[in-house]
Every structure is written in structure tokens, then in C-alpha cells.
Symmetry: C2
Subunit: 149 residues, 2 copies
DNA sequence: AAAAAGTCTACCGGTTTGGTAGGGTGTTTA
DNA sequence: TAAACACCCTACCAAACCGGTAGACTTTTT
């Protein structure tokens, strides 16, 4: 499960994507609109800044904003920055790999299954970006093609 | 990430699958061979018994054993019994669903992505069973078909 | 200089995790 | 029938993590 920290991070990023190119956004605005505890959000945004996702401006007219285009930041990256490994065991992780002491990966059935899970998860998370977080109508009244038919 | 409890559970189950139809297996045997703290393992096996995966026999010649055939127990089930939800957010979970307060699922991009992740994960975990945990040779010297070619 | 707004350090209570201790209970066998 | 065997049950515990708070500090703008 995602931690609340990661959940809040994604909410805040969603907000910043919606306001992309509208200049810096106040922490307090995000906190209020997304119902995130202010001081907790401060930590999160600062962390996202220190890891290169966000940038900020102090003083009047300041706030936080995305450093790069939303479509350049993969969901997987954000996830790893906040919550760490995506894989379900260290011996299956690409970015946080650690050998497991008690089992031989070559003959561990669990290892196999969790590698599959990891790959299936990454196939999605590495191909979605912050741009995919924002509102799109999921049930358009008319279809895309031949809406009258 | 899996908790240690779940990891140990899968190790113990793997052991019991290997000894399936050889009668009850001692907790102490599993603990020793799989290097799992004995008293911790007791808890885990008892839990797996109480939830219907395992059965046990007391007294001399006793021990734990699988209640049903290994191929009848899905990996997803064991996972849920020990670690709970497979989904990454409560609002995306099938077995542990909870509405999220701050966002409208219909217009939440994160929700969409995590539903995809859930489905991809379940496609694997619901189609693998305890039988898939045991040793198979992953790199046979000869192929399955026309090994000489 | 004052106000605005992010930055930094520190702390803290509650829950979960990963165990440990020790006696209780049911079964088998000598 | 009693000893040995092996699981069962309750309770406890330390460390880590999670979610959040407090408050002073720095930088920027007006």
C-alpha cells in the first residue's frame, strides 16, 4: 500500500500539473484545496524539490512549481522517491536490490512470481507520467469516432 | 514490500509443498531448514491453520501439513491472509475497499493507474498457486523441443 | 523594514513489525 | 497411566515507521 505521504505527494503533484505554466503555487493553497495537513505537505514538497521534481520561489508571488513538463516525470520515479522499492522483495528490486540470505534465487519459485509482478507493475508505472494524473472524462457522452452511430 | 511474516509464510509453505503427502512436518524442522525464528513461525503456521490453509496434528508424529492440494491455493489468497490488501490504495482494493475522502474516483488519474496495476498484479497472483512455488529447473540444458537442434 | 513564503531542525505519540517467554492442552506410546 | 511429544494460547516487548506538529530561520519582494 502507498503511504499517506506518497498519496499526498501525488495529490499535490496533480494540483501542480493542473496549474502548470500558471506560475508558483502556494503550499497553503495546495494544502487547503487538497485537504492535506500544511506542515506535513511542507516536508513532502521540500523533499520533491530536493530530489529534482519541483522547484520553488520564496517571498511574495512565490510557491512551488514543476521543474519540468508533466509528461517528463514518470509515476514510477515519484513512487520510488517517496515510498522506495516498487518490487515486493529486495531480491526482486531493480533499484533497491539486496540478495536474500535464505534462498537461492535460481531455485525460488516465489522469486519468479514476484519478478513477473514487478515487470507487470513497471510496464504500467514506467509508461505513465504526471500528465496522466489530470482529469479526463472517462465516459464521454459521445464516442471519439462516429459519435452518432 | 512483503512483510517478513509473509515472506516466512511463503518459505514455510514451500517447504510443506515439497513434503506434501509425506505426513505432518515439525515446526522445528521448518524453522531449522528455512532459518525462521521458531516462535515466530509457530504464530504464522497457527494463523495459516486458523484461516484454513493448513491443518495440524499434535503429539508424537504430529506437525503441520497442507489441508488441500498445493494447486488449489492461490498465491493471492495467502498474500491477503498475511499482509492484507494487494492494491496500492484502499479505494482500488477489491477485498479491502474503502472510499477515499478527498478525491472523486471518477476523476482521479491516480485511481485509474492503480486500478491497472492491481489488475496486472492479480492476473499473475490469482493464476499462480502454491504448486508454483517449488523448484523447477529454469535453464534446462536441453530445450523442451528438439534439444539437439 | 516589513511582509511574504519557503527552509530547516527537532520532536512526538501511536501503530506496526518482528520477535520472545512460558505455561497450557491434546495425543501417542511405553 | 504417566511421560514424552508437539502444537496452542496469552502476554509481553523493543525498535522502527508513520503521520504529524512546532518553531525559529532565511530569502525575496515591496
Amino acid at each position: 500500500m502507498l503511504t499517506k505521504k506518497a498519496y499526498y505527494a501525488f495529490q499535490a503533484l496533480t494540483h501542480l500539473v493542473e496549474k502548470y505554466n500558471e506560475g508558483p503555487v502556494l503550499i497553503s493553497e495546495i494544502a487547503e484545496e487538497r485537504k492535506i495537513p500544511l506542515k506535513f505537505l511542507e516536508n513532502i514538497l521540500l523533499h520533491l524539490k530536493n530530489t529534482g521534481i519541483l522547484d520553488s520561489k520564496k517571498g511574495k508571488g512565490g510557491g512551488y512549481f514543476l521543474k519540468n513538463s508533466p509528461s517528463e516525470i514518470k509515476i514510477a520515479k515519484v513512487f520510488r522517491l517517496i515510498d522506495g522499492p516498487i518490487a515486493m522483495l529486495p531480491c526482486v528490486s531493480l533499484y533497491f536490490y539486496q540478495r536474500c540470505e535464505n534462498c537461492n534465487e535460481k531455485f525460488c519459485g516465489l522469486h519468479d512470481i514476484l519478478v513477473e509482478v514487478r515487470d507487470a507493475t513497471l510496464a504500467i508505472m514506467e509508461n505513465r507520467t504526471l500528465a496522466d494524473l489530470i482529469l479526463r472524462d472517462k465516459n464521454p457522452v459521445g464516442g471519439l469516432v462516429s459519435p452518432e452511430m
